[in-house]
Symmetry: D2
Subunit: 302 residues, 4 copies
């Protein structure tokens, strides 16, 4: 019904917002698993063809979503369960992880804006090994296999004057990791999903994604090595909030006042670059960072 | 037209949103001054009677607002101008400032949530003198008059388990300041006003004001000493954003679909405790904190 | 041999630095336990009489020390073991913990100085329940026994203009906890002990202790309720470093050049208020904060 | 007299610690200027020949030092004076600053360790223009000349697994600045100089300099563009403190107990990687960051 643009970084939400018929489109496969005891829903959307990519408005690739309603609530044991499942999924999607890899983990976002600090938080707390392996050799680790893990927090363009992509590309060319893992705060369509969903994908990060101005694609095509992106919706566009409320209302009344809708859209201009977050955003970001950090440490066996 | 609740902490906005006739209500006086060269608008709303208080939904007292569209933009000279004007207004509203005072400055809010960290930021950077005066005496300051300035950042209830009021009251009773100045992040009605307006009032802080849960009044009645509040709108309620967009739209189409409106309101429940901020919130809060800090240092001659 | 003042906040170190004969002093009992598998040494020093207090230069009371050489190294499982043991000790020393208590946890120190931020870090991450119990009642917790936990970060005098004691006392009188638990960064005598030792005592905090200026005793006598202090040596006095190196040297050469010693002491004036920390202080403080936070959460069953 | 290694990053201190005869060495020129009214001493040491470099233990180049005893005390007007003088010196030493330049400012150090956070603090607060010039063109700036300023905070090796040099080199090759300005916290020889001296040099940063492990040279030779380094001594090596106290003592007694000295040195091993800072390090670093930030903004006319 609505022609309002769906603004979301989650493949899952794109699909939810498609009309019933469109969902069964060719070139997109969907698998869903629900773990009763942990209330954890894992959805795997694979966009297989250009046709599928067009229908979804997302590039070809794999999108895995972990959803858990209590993800950001205080419960360390539960967080550990989610982290374990996330590690399992990461091990599946990071190519050649059974070999010894050099992995660069990049935390996108602005560390001074609570909802955008997810990436920097994860990298700040990650176990970093590259310099140790370089200095003492793998033998020092007393493990069969030792990945070299490095971490980078490039900062946002307003504070660096550079695209994140430029910084990452420069560092990748100099330190030559085998794979890049990028963590970013995403925009969701629904407030219900905030800090309750983790998406991992092998398609990297695309322009306009995330909270801030992380422009220019951070993808295998751009960097020359595979790019795995871990994203968590931490904000909703302010304009999305309004157009959603509007749609819901229209649906209820059965009207289709197109003229009104255009007026509405015109009035939303001032909401450009405005974001909605919850009041516990600091606590929730801390929890999710911890989950992702533990999952990465576990997947990378450090 | 609308019966939607106006959610704002600014007396100025309350008045703007009143119907034309109601504005001229008895018991409320308004003075406005516009400084052409600095584009600074100073509005003084005085609620003089219980009637006025009822009409405005705010307690009896003085509310001074400084508005400047470029307040949060990078321009140090301009910030100094605003700080000077703010100092002038603070000197007028802090009682007995010509005498030597003991002033406790309280920074409300959550330092880990960017938009709510205004108060803590100001207190962190303020010149504090109480301990120096106590230890070395006033003579050490080489000034005619020396105020004793102390600073307190009580934190938010989710992290302390206590009302801000309990903490402040306890410390006031123990250290006996002559006056308390409270800094807080407020909710505005309009995104246009975010980080562009400073309100000072001698009525203190009232329940439900601000971004977080700073419950229980922080007022002269509660603390036993005069309370001057400095507030800056740094967020807009997510529900306000939606109902505003809705109203604007209805006004344009001339409809009054009351039924729809009720549906709308019902749908906004999930927006409870959600806030809207701009993407440069970190930069803007830093600028405004700096202005208020300089104004306080200047007004208190420290 | 040396008359240089031993500057330490650890009862354990006081005893170590006493001459052999003096150690067996009356009024001081010492118990030691070493857990082989975890390399954890637990020492309980009880000062029972005024005589013992005089000999030790510490007030009458119980001082329990947990020492583990690998305390600050990256090993989450090990941290959990230490946290468990710390919880056991806390349960023994917090009076009436088998009843339902109102416990105020206070984090002393300056959150902007890495080595002094231990206390604030612990309180920032603690599970706080007082406001929940007050709002929803104990029934909501679905537990037999629910302590009300509150948290306070008073800040340091240079930033508040007030003694920590004044602030804590004010808040204690207003919110009436049954017991206060204070966390503080301490000064050790030896760099070997930095971030590897946790001391808990029922004697509170005494003037001049810790890194900063947390003056005025925070004790049961001052606050009117029992005060349990948890301290971790995170710095060594710069003057201590020098006089220790000097002593070691003298001991090796067998000389007793008292004149030289006086010259030395005179030259140390400029080291007043200077502290020594290691270069990994940020990482180590984070680990220890986490251990103490988990131990408190566990002891308080929150 | 002493053979103890002088551990300092300041050319000025190297010279002070040379024996009288050695100071007049060829290949090193020294100019000094003292500004009475501002108590600001400016010393320019130019190492002109390999011989001079050998004698000084520093590479050929220019080293300008600004010393002001009250640099870190609270006095904004005074800070502005120092910033102005620093800007004058920066304009002299940054090559081709009269043309339009692309300048990358790099803040070395660990933002989580107070004394090492100087570089990150400066970059966080700098006016960044590169992205604006790229997006809107120079015309938008309404200035005759517009430098493109970018900022980078590479982080420390323990947290990135990479040398700062690798990161900077990668980003320089990608974004091609004309000149790199590096800000770093240095180690001084004397506690008297902490946070009271600013050194600028055109020789870049050399291995082992600074507080942390910023290894591998950050120099024109390494990066391919001129590198200007701004350094402030914020710590003293713990071993330096001890050996200094020892020397002072020996000098006073007229002894030369070489054997003792060796014992002393052996005993200092545990002080490796330990640093001395003052208790107001947070406040002082904030002040100096502000001075350098203002000086850079002024020199770069942003």
């Amino acid at each position: 019904m609505s022609s309002l643009r769906v603004r979301t970084d989650l493949a899952l939400e794109v699909r939810e917002n498609m009309e019933e018929g469109a969902k069964e489109c060719r070139g997109v496969s969907v698998e869903e698993e629900y773990k009763e005891e942990s209330e954890l829903r894992i959805t795997k959307v694979v966009i297989e063809t250009m046709n599928g990519a067009k229908a979804m408005g997302k590039p070809i690739g794999t999108y895995i979503t972990l959803e858990a309603p209590a993800m950001a609530l205080p419960d360390e044991d539960y967080h550990e369960e989610i982290a374990k499942e996330l590690a399992v999924q990461l091990k599946k999607i990071i190519p050649d992880i059974d070999k010894e890899l050099s992995v660069m983990v990049v935390g996108l976002g602005n560390r001074d804006v609570t909802a955008d600090a997810l990436g920097p938080n994860v990298v700040d707390n990650l176990t970093i090994t590259r310099h140790m392996v370089k200095e003492y050799g793998k033998a020092a680790f007393n493990q069969k296999k030792v990945h070299m893990v490095s971490g980078l927090v490039p900062g946002v363009m307003a504070k660096t004057g550079m695209e994140s992509q430029e910084i990452i590309k420069g560092v990748v060319e100099k330190t030559k990791p085998d794979v890049v893992v990028v963590i970013d705060a995403l925009a969701a369509r629904s407030t219900k999903r905030l800090n309750r969903t983790i998406q991992i994908t092998n398609t990297g990060i695309h322009p306009g994604s995330g909270v801030g101005n992380h422009r220019n694609a951070i993808t295998q095509e751009a960097l020359g090595v595979p790019v795995i992106a871990i994203g968590v919706p931490t904000v909703v566009d302010a304009a999305t909030i309004v157009s959603d409320a509007f749609e819901k209302m229209m649906r209820q009344t059965g009207e289709e006042p197109l003229e009104i809708q255009d007026n509405l859209l015109a009035g939303l201009g001032e909401l450009y670059n405005m974001y909605v977050t919850g009041k516990d955003v600091d606590y929730e970001i801390k929890q999710i960072s911890h989950i992702i950090c533990n999952a990465l440490n576990s997947a990378l066996e450090v």
